[in-house]
């Protein structure tokens, strides 16, 4: 599925900062369905070769334990599972979190701090994948350059399981 991607360089005066940072705004749409469960969501960064270099968030039923643990459905986040999830031990510190209800979420990550850590200079993709129990799956991608020379914003929108996603990177 093609997503419209707009990258706009907002010409902010370069503020000297010790570490670059990344802000992600993500919308989980409200859906009219007979049976609704909050989606599982994975947010991660891939390098140009498609290798996952950092998983920023994995939202799932962390509190479900036992025979049908929440981890059971993590492979439904198919792309993330293949690229990163299956080699992580869940729950993972600073990554795992509970599922979230429909709404807008603002997340912030700093360079040099887990889970973002340090990225080598280059072209990257932010990927956001959502999978919902008895529902669908969607993957949204926003490319970006790192480190950012100036503040840059990229946005993309899902059509079913995800709403608007906005990525802002700042030096």
């Amino acid at each position: 599925m093609r997503k419209t991607i707009i990258i706009t360089a907002t010409s902010l005066a370069a503020t000297p900062a010790v570490a670059a940072d990344m802000q992600i705004s993500l919308e989980i749409p409200r859906l009219r369905v007979a049976e609704y469960h909050n989606p599982y969501i994975a947010i991660w960064i891939e390098d140009e070769a498609g290798k996952a270099v950092a998983t920023l968030d994995a939202w799932y039923d962390v509190d479900l334990k036992g025979e049908e643990a929440g981890t059971k459905w993590l492979p439904d986040l198919r792309t993330w599972w293949r690229r990163a999830g299956r080699s992580l031990r869940m729950p993972a510190d600073g990554i795992s979190g509970p599922t979230q209800a429909p709404g807008r979420y603002d997340l912030r990550f700093s360079e040099g701090t887990r889970p973002l850590g340090r990225l080598a200079p280059g072209s990257y993709k932010l990927r956001v994948e959502a999978a919902r129990e008895v529902g669908g799956r969607e993957l949204v991608t926003i490319p970006f350059q790192w480190p950012p020379r100036s503040a840059q914003t990229g946005s993309a929108s899902g059509t079913a399981e995800l709403g608007a996603i906005r990525l802002t990177v700042r030096p």
Binding site: T71, K72, T79, W81, R82, R86
Partner: protein, 273 residues
């Protein structure tokens, strides 16, 4: 008007039967797992085992589970739990407690053939010493067959995928639980541990009931026994190959060696990315 096509069909059937290569088993035999890619500390996969014409529909016979063996990520056998056999299929559970890849297989080796005793032609199945003393005109076929599938808990591993060196085997080059529709997957076929070059392999997407075209891709391995599989659509796919055929002598001493038939089938899941 109506008789002609019928006669023609009958003629064709006879003609085809005469030229059809020997098939060890007329029906497709398969192990269909409930999932191939799993997550968590420990879970269970349940598997249907059947011989059928349709893929993957239960329309003929259940498969016997006497020779079922599950190899775990550490290369050691894993105890499965047989649920039972119905009219059309057998069912068993495999508990997955270790992270990694499991090879689930029904593999057997046996012998079958015919002999003449006191002027009577008799069939036998099992081992060579079932041929009684005094039997003449002994014709023997050695059969090796493997029907298998693969599942992975967590990250894929390789230990369970090592060749056994017996009969026809498919050794994955692309991991069998890392298959994606639209991406090429490579496998290597071995016969008794050696590359099976020029082997004809059938590759069929499941869901045959819902389409007119049988959809059989007939592929041939290269000189290293390597084959490339490409699934256009995500789904469960069936792989089948066999080699050898006919009948030979009883073997032993200076007699003619028995003929050999090796057959292999697997079920592979290709996921959407």
């Amino acid at each position: 008007m109506f008789a002609k096509p019928t006669l023609l069909a009958a003629g064709l059937a006879v003609g085809l039967a005469a030229f059809m290569p020997h098939k060890a088993e007329a029906h497709r035999r398969w192990l269909l797992p409930s999932s191939t890619v799993l997550a968590g500390e420990g879970t269970t996969v349940t598997v249907d085992a059947a011989a059928s014409n349709g893929l993957f529909t239960f329309d003929h016979r259940p498969m016997g589970l006497d020779d079922l063996k599950v190899i775990g990520p550490d290369g050691q056998p894993v105890q499965h739990k047989v649920i039972g056999s119905g009219e059309f299929r057998s069912v068993f559970d495999v508990p997955l407690q270790q992270q990694g890849t499991y090879r689930i297989a029904i593999a057997n080796e046996g012998m079958s053939g015919v002999y003449t005793l006191n002027g009577e032609r008799k069939r036998f199945r099992g081992v060579a010493d079932q041929v009684p003393a005094g039997a003449t005109d002994v014709r023997v076929t050695q059969n090796a067959s493997r029907v298998e599938t693969f599942v992975t808990l967590g990250a894929p591993t390789e230990t369970a995928l090592q060749p056994t060196g017996q009969g026809l085997e498919m050794i994955p080059i692309t991991h069998p639980n890392d298959l994606v529709a639209g991406e090429e997957a490579q496998v290597r076929f071995l016969l008794d541990g050696q590359p099976a070059a020029g082997l004809e392999v059938e590759f069929v997407e499941g869901g045959t009931r819902y389409r007119d075209d049988a959809g059989i891709q007939t592929l041939t391995t290269d000189s290293d026994g390597v084959l490339t599989l490409t699934a256009a659509r995500p789904g469960m796919y069936y792989v089948e190959a066999s080699q050898g055929g006919g009948q030979g002598g009883p073997g032993g001493g200076e007699g003619e060696a028995p003929a050999r038939v090796s057959s292999y089938t697997a079920v592979l899941e290709f996921l959407p990315l």
